[in-house]
């Protein structure tokens, strides 16, 4: 009987039309299902509902005006979306926001994909009747953070960034300060974003509807290097970029456009285009070997992956006592940078200064990572510039390239060759899966037939898998988001959770959901599609285990001897710093 009740069709009325609903969390979703696009600024489906912008207000018979994003659907409700009152409220909200907004739209980073601009246009706001903000009321722009620029004059206080930092990462680096019209989003004590415990993940940027939080752009710097005849500019492309960049040019999320991206980069003027997937394979060689050694010796377990710079930064800031668990392997980006600057300069007989290494990343934290002092040799960085997917999109647009009409190209050899293990680095669980494929063969000496470890895949923030390496049990925990990571660390510390390998990616879903990707906040399903695109790429690769990569084998033969050799340590490994004291001294 009860079951019957649950499966019974539930309906409500939207502007007179009966609409069925099932598991929709709020009225807004039901209304959108009914084909009406209710405007929102503060609503983000994967964050908590906030109800502050008042754009999604509807009139519900018997309940008056309600924000549809916060109201649960109930059978029989009669909802009116476009009434005189709701339309008046929406238009007034936009007009009020515009009155308080830095309306230098043409030069704004977000011009063209700004939600405020979009709705002002759609709702037909033709003039703003309220007084304009005076020059003296403008607050300073904060560009002290290596990855993120905060412009409070563009902020509409929707609180999405505050919720992202708190609810996804559990960090609360930014929050509301002051009251009323003096409210701002800022770090504690109004400190600069460069002086706090920010891990540079960029999730705040990814949810910002306007130009208040933007990625610190390196576009101009890269153009300058490209046009400089004295410089050779090479670049690497991270796995997650290829399944997301195309979205900006009308491709489906998850559609692999690596060939087009390489072609575009060549057109833009990069001298050589390599693939970070190659370095991901290299990472596996080093990290799997490192793990096997630690596993045999029973030391510093669980081993923590070190590919994600936001995670590394978090550990340095908050858990310096656990830094010994971190793999000493550099991230693929930095392995690549180090290799390129070492090998190419030698091969071509040029100085480090003459070689510019650029990486195309889904990640904002990579911009901070490449500036770490460990990754400089003779005051020259291994990676000179990091361009996020977002920035590369703007370069392609600036260059006037018709992306979809490009002839696909392949990456330059030898660092363009990769295995499927490298490609799945872009999704949460990918590093662990890739490592497991190699570790299996190293430990057992047998050939692994079925390489797919599906239990490690998927969007869950926490996954725990026990691998059976022919009798040797290895427990792997895969985590994404720092909030989840913090919980796991506490459990590891208390002994509640035991494992041998812990993979952590700071962004939801892994790098595919990185802060530098095309904005995906309003459509979380895009992340799933991107991950599927990566696994599909993996499935179609000739080689699917990192150690099978012939280019990797060649590299060890020619330059590095063997994994974890002295030379490999010099180029491919690193050390970490206790930042607990410095980070707390700030407060």
């Amino acid at each position: 009987m009860a079951n019957n009740m649950e499966t019974q069709k539930k309906t409500l009325f939207v502007d007179g039309c009966e609409v069925e609903f099932t598991n929709e969390k709020n009225l807004l979703q039901v209304i959108r299902k009914a084909g009406i696009e209710v405007p929102t600024f503060c609503y983000r489906p994967d964050l908590s509902q906030y109800g502050a912008c008042r754009m999604c207000v509807v009139e519900v018979e018997g309940r008056g005006i309600q924000s549809s994003c916060t109201m649960p659907p109930e059978p029989g409700l009669k909802v009116h979306v476009n009434t005189e009152r709701t339309r008046r409220i929406r238009k007034m909200v936009v007009e009020l926001l515009l009155a308080n907004h830095d309306r230098e739209c043409t030069t704004c980073e977000r011009s063209g994909d700004c939600e405020l601009q979009f709705w002002a246009n759609k709702l037909g706001i033709k003039h703003v009747r309220f007084g304009k903000k005076r020059e003296s009321q403008y607050l300073p722009v904060d560009d002290t953070n290596p990855s993120i620029v905060r412009n409070p004059n563009k902020c509409i206080l929707c609180g999405a960034c505050v919720r992202a930092c708190n609810e996804i990462q559990g960090l609360g680096i930014i929050d509301f300060a002051n009251r009323g019209s003096k409210t701002v989003v800022a770090p504690a004590y109004n400190k600069h974003l460069g002086d706090v415990d920010c891990i540079f993940c960029g999730q705040c940027v990814a949810v910002c509807p306007v130009g208040a939080l933007t990625i610190k752009s390196d576009v101009q710097n890269v153009w300058d290097e490209i046009v400089n005849p004295k410089k050779q500019v090479v670049c690497q492309i991270a796995p997650a970029v290829r399944v997301a960049l195309g979205e900006a040019f009308g491709l489906e999320a998850g559609e692999n456009s690596i060939g087009l991206i390489i072609a575009a980069l060549k057109k833009i003027g990069f001298d050589k285009v390599f693939d970070t997937n190659f370095a991901a394979d290299l990472t596996i060689m080093e990290e799997a070997t490192e793990f096997v050694t630690r596993f045999k010796e029973g030391k510093n377990l669980p081993i923590f992956t070190s590919c994600c710079p936001a995670w590394v930064r978090f550990l340095e800031n908050h858990h310096p006592d656990m830094l010994n668990h971190l793999s000493t392997c550099r991230s693929p980006q930095q392995m690549f940078g180090s290799l390129v600057k070492d090998v190419i300069t030698k091969e071509e007989g040029i100085s480090r200064d003459e070689l510019v290494s650029v990486s195309i990343m889904p990640c904002t934290a990579k911009k901070a990572e490449c500036k770490r002092e460990e990754f400089y040799v003779d005051k020259n960085p291994d990676v000179d510039y990091v361009l996020t997917t977002h920035e590369l999109i703007s370069m392609i647009k600036e260059a006037g390239i018709d992306f979809n009409k490009l002839e696909p190209q392949s990456a330059d050899s030898p660092y363009g060759l990769f295995t499927g293990a490298g490609t799945i680095f872009g999704a949460s669980g990918g590093v662990a899966e890739a490592a497991a494929r190699t570790a299996y063969e190293v430990v057992t000496g047998k050939k692994l037939e079925d390489v797919d470890i599906k239990a490690m895949r998927g969007a869950n923030t926490f996954k725990s898998i026990e691998l059976d390496l022919e009798g040797t049990k290895v427990k792997v925990v895969v985590v994404n988001t720092i909030k989840e990571a913090e919980e796991v660390l506490q459990k590891i510390k208390s002994g509640e959770l035991e494992c041998h390998i812990l993979e952590v990616m700071a962004c939801p879903g892994g790098c595919i959901g990185g802060g530098g990707q095309p904005i995906s906040c309003s459509a979380p399903e895009k992340k799933l599609k991107r991950a599927a695109g990566l696994y599909d790429d993996d499935a179609h690769q000739k080689y699917r285990k990192s150690h099978d990569n012939p280019a990797i084998q060649e590299l060890y033969k020619k330059w590095l001897e063997k994994p974890n050799s002295h030379k490999a340590h010099e180029l491919l490994h690193t050390h970490y710093k206790n930042r607990f004291e410095t980070s707390y001294k700030n407060v």
Binding site: C53, V57, P72, L96, G180, S181, T183
Partner: protein, 615 residues
């Protein structure tokens, strides 16, 4: 359980009876500011040091809560001759002791003088301020020492709690409250019984009772008076509510600006716990209930219930959208009953005297009495309690003793910054929830500011808008940006810079803020503007079109003129003018350069011949 309370009451009565004449000295915040602690000290010294003859009576100085008549503080009430001494200073104490207490004779010069008859009033019941009131929830304020549980017991404290624990089921308690017609005294007027019912129905093994003592309306202090003057009644009301809804933990949210209320509540909670009226197995029953005090950090918006809960949880005090309502998902996500101080204070009385008794006061839909903080241009200001439905006229002209200095009544702002303006046409309007809403105002917490003909109504609207604009939490756009822009337009109007389009925009914006805001603060913030626009639109238009402030308040719209026929040319004004706007020849009339004049009015005050006027 009733017998325990009865025994304890008798014991307390015997103890207090042996202490002689009671001298009740008000130690509410208002009287303390006027020096009542010194008066109390003096009385106590006398009790110890004065040479005492055998025929001299014993007396005890009782430090009480607020009597309500704050304007006349320090108040000293001596019930044996039923007199109230007003504006008592420490120098007066000796005379009171010798003449009244020892001599049995009233000290006439310290009695209240009726503003209408100019005569001293001997008996308390003849003071119109008190005689026209019906003090029920405030009945003990001013009559007992709030820092002693025994005193509360003597006036029937905890009897209602014992009765429900012994005789009634939670359902019966809720039914009594529902039948009484009690509605939330904090502003909205939601039926209390229904709120209890909803929370009782919510299924959860943990529930909370929260008392909203974040009284933030400018000039309102009824909750403070109860917390300071009769804390046990509040505690008892909360305990009864906890029993009714099945809660075992409660919070009283008090603003940190009420240190005395916090202190007395702490004392009361501690003593109640020690003596078994709170804590585990209350009065030997199986009911447990503990109360914590949470000090608010001074944000007006924390009086909004969801913001208040967020604040208790340690979050920034910002309202959350409803639904979910606190009755289902409140404090720490648990079902929570939130009522205001005055609402809880009414509960023990209703239980003790019955729902019908409560309904015998007030109107059909607004039963009981309501406290108001009466301030502004009336003769008697202070805290009053009247049956719901009492007219504004009775409050202002009887209890309040009329408008000061014989001026004319212009308007009354009721309900603080969330309320609205009432005018002369509303003088006979019954003051209850529904009539006030209809008139565009609200009972609110009960602040009542009376204004005379010298008040500029636009300036009043600007004042309240400034308040809400500053106190907006900044969460939702209509309130944060809307109040700011409403204030900007009002400022333009009082400066004489506004156009008629601005007035239309103000009204349009006011409606959008009212309709679109997330919480009660924003939804009611435009009320002062909308109600004054409704009743005093002419005055707005005078500011805009004629650039005149009819009440002569807005300085930007004043011009200062020298009347040539009265000016003797003494040059005194020119010498005092801070901006050199006045010039002329000695012994012939001076002139003001209006482009320089800053309208400070120094010249007006300076002129020995009253030749300079503000027009």
């Amino acid at each position: 359980m009733l017998d325990i309370v009865e025994q304890e009451r008798k014991k307390a009565e015997r103890r207090l009876a042996s202490t002689g004449i009671r001298v009740l000295v008000c130690a509410g915040t208002g009287c303390v500011a006027n020096g009542s602690l010194e008066v109390i000290k003096k009385f106590e010294e006398f009790g110890l040091n004065v040479e005492k003859l055998p025929e001299h009576k014993d007396f005890t100085t009782v430090k009480t809560g607020c009597h309500g008549f704050c304007e006349k503080g320090v108040l000293v009430v001596i019930p044996d001759l039923d007199v109230t001494y007003v504006k008592v200073k420490k120098e007066d104490v000796e005379e009171i002791v010798r003449k009244h207490i020892y001599g049995g004779e009233v000290v006439e010069r310290l009695l209240y003088v009726d503003p209408k008859t100019n005569k001293h009033i001997f008996r308390n019941e003849d003071i119109e301020f008190y005689s026209k009131q019906t003090r029920t929830s405030l009945c003990n304020c001013g009559n007992i020492n709030p820092e002693e549980l025994d005193e509360a017991l003597c006036v029937g404290g905890y009897e209602a709690l014992a009765r429900v624990l012994e005789e009634q089921t939670p359902e019966e308690v809720i039914k009594t409250i529902t039948d009484s017609g009690l509605r939330g005294r904090g502003g909205g007027g939601f039926p209390t019984g229904r709120k209890w019912q909803f929370t009782a129905m919510a299924q959860n093994d943990k529930k909370y009772v929260v008392c909203n003592g974040d009284e933030g309306d400018p000039g309102a202090f009824m909750d403070r008076s109860i917390m300071e003057g009769d804390p046990h009644k509040l505690i008892e009301g909360m305990a009864i509510a906890a029993y009714a809804i099945g809660a075992d933990e409660g919070y009283i949210y008090v603003r940190a600006e009420y240190p005395m209320a916090i202190k007395r509540l702490r004392i009361a909670i501690k003593e109640a716990e020690e003596r078994g009226y709170l804590g585990e197995n209350i009065l030997g029953s199986n009911m447990n209930f503990t109360i914590h005090i949470k000090e608010g950090a001074g944000a007006f918006v924390c009086g909004e219930e969801t913001a208040l809960l967020a604040s208790i949880e340690g979050e920034r005090g910002m309202p959350r959208p409803k639904p979910p309502f606190p009755a289902n998902k409140g404090l720490f996500g648990k079902p929570t009953l939130i009522n205001n101080v005055e609402t809880f204070a009414n509960v023990p009385l209703i239980i003790k005297n019955g729902a019908q008794w409560f309904r015998s006061f007030g109107t059909e839909k607004s039963a009981g009495t309501k406290t108001f903080a009466l301030t502004g241009e009336v003769n008697n200001t202070g805290l009053i309690e009247v049956p719901m439905g009492t007219t504004l006229r009775e409050i202002i002209f009887e209890i309040g003793g009329g408008i000061r200095n014989g001026k004319k009544f212009k308007a009354a702002q009721i309900g603080g910054p969330s309320g609205g303006c009432l005018t002369e046409e509303h003088l006979d309007l019954p003051m209850d929830y529904d009539s006030l809403i209809q008139a565009g105002a609200m009972v609110g917490s009960g602040g009542l500011v009376v204004m005379n003909e010298d008040t500029c109504i636009v300036e009043v609207a600007r004042f309240f808008m400034h308040f809400t604009q500053v106190e907006s939490c900044g969460k939702c756009v209509p309130c944060r940006e809307g109040t700011k822009n409403m204030l900007a337009i009002l400022e333009k109007i009082v400066r004489g810079k506004a156009t008629m389009e601005d007035l239309d925009l103000l009204e349009e914006l006011a409606h959008a803020v009212k309709d679109g805001s997330l919480c009660g603060l924003g939804k009611t913030a435009p009320n002062p503007v909308l109600s004054t626009l409704k009743y005093f639109r002419d005055e707005y238009i005078a500011h805009i079109r004629d650039k005149k402030c009819p009440a002569g308040v807005c300085s930007a719209l004043k011009t200062i003129q020298i009347q040539e026929d009265l000016c003797k040319g003494c040059s005194k004004c020119a010498r005092q003018c801070p901006v050199g706007a006045i010039s002329g020849q000695i012994k012939s009339p001076y002139k003001i350069d209006q482009s320089k004049c800053i309208k400070c009015g120094v010249c007006v005050d300076t002129c020995p011949f009253k030749a300079i006027k503000e027009v």
